[in-house]
Symmetry: C2
Subunit: 206 residues, 2 copies
Amino acid sequence: MTENRLERRKARTRAALVRAAQEFIANGRLNAPILEITQSADVGMGSFYNHFESKEDLFQAALENALDTFGQVLDDLTGGIDDPAHVFAQSFRLTGRMHRRLPELSKVLLHNGFEFTKSGRGLAHRARRDIDAALAAGRFTVADPELALVIAAGSVLALGQLLHAEPERDDAAATDQIAEDLLRMLGVPADEAREISRRPLPDLDA
Amino acid sequence: MTENRLERRKARTRAALVRAAQEFIANGRLNAPILEITQSADVGMGSFYNHFESKEDLFQAALENALDTFGQVLDDLTGGIDDPAHVFAQSFRLTGRMHRRLPELSKVLLHNGFEFTKSGRGLAHRARRDIDAALAAGRFTVADPELALVIAAGSVLALGQLLHAEPERDDAAATDQIAEDLLRMLGVPADEAREISRRPLPDLDA
């Protein structure tokens, strides 16, 4: 077997483990033994430790991968928008709606969340990029974009907790109101903040 | 023994357990066995279960009690301030400084935090009261004070995570900047938000 084929096989094994772990996360089965996950991935138990040090290590990779995929969807859906304030608001509003649509992903995110606000990957990384673009365009005015991101990330997590604790609450209305409040925090005038956070959203299912 | 004496003794036993648990929290000894906590409180193992169902139950009570005490200190320190926007900002700025001063309390709060944003007790309850007072006085303008509280609570927790992850970061500067951003989110004009969040603070040690 050439080195390239070996590399490809290793990548396939790792991807199979990550996909299987995402299934277990989606089904709330975080306590499943490693053996069950490797069997579900059709991978030998020995291979597991070639890729991950522990189950926590695998779940971490699975969560980062899922958030990266979700972030890629957000990027695709905001691709045609010129105004970076609109980009930030739309991504926040779709992320808020993620808590009920992908509840297990959301709960793992809430459990691990603050780690990710610093990780430079996935959603936090994208939100920071959008804040920086809006600052550069003169749409946002904050003294410290990193701390503005701390507020936005903390808000997304606290919103998720609220939506899980109160299943009868309208998640879209709560998310959009928080998006409006955050736009004001970011320096957008109040009336404009309200209008931007009530614009039609693209269909996440499409 | 009269019923009153019995009640007082029960209250003393409970308070001794709560105080002991706060010591264990402060020392980061969350894994200590119940027996060690009851010994430290000078209370019989049997009494423990008259008051608490589990160690988690006791630690929860200890955390709520500690936050309530901290909240009482905040109330005492803001007692002479007329402007409710100033009250909110000062309490937020002192709470942000709590993460490094009381790191173990802070870490337990971060671990359990979002429960407390909905608990109607302690810090969240007080912050909501201050937001409502500022709304009534026309100092804040937010459409939904409950969701504004979600943003403020999420920000305090995300700030704590940041300060623990980056021990070299200036906690006072970060906290005050976030307080300023939150005041703008709450409808305070930008220049006033900056001025209010830079006012001299009372000494927490006094």
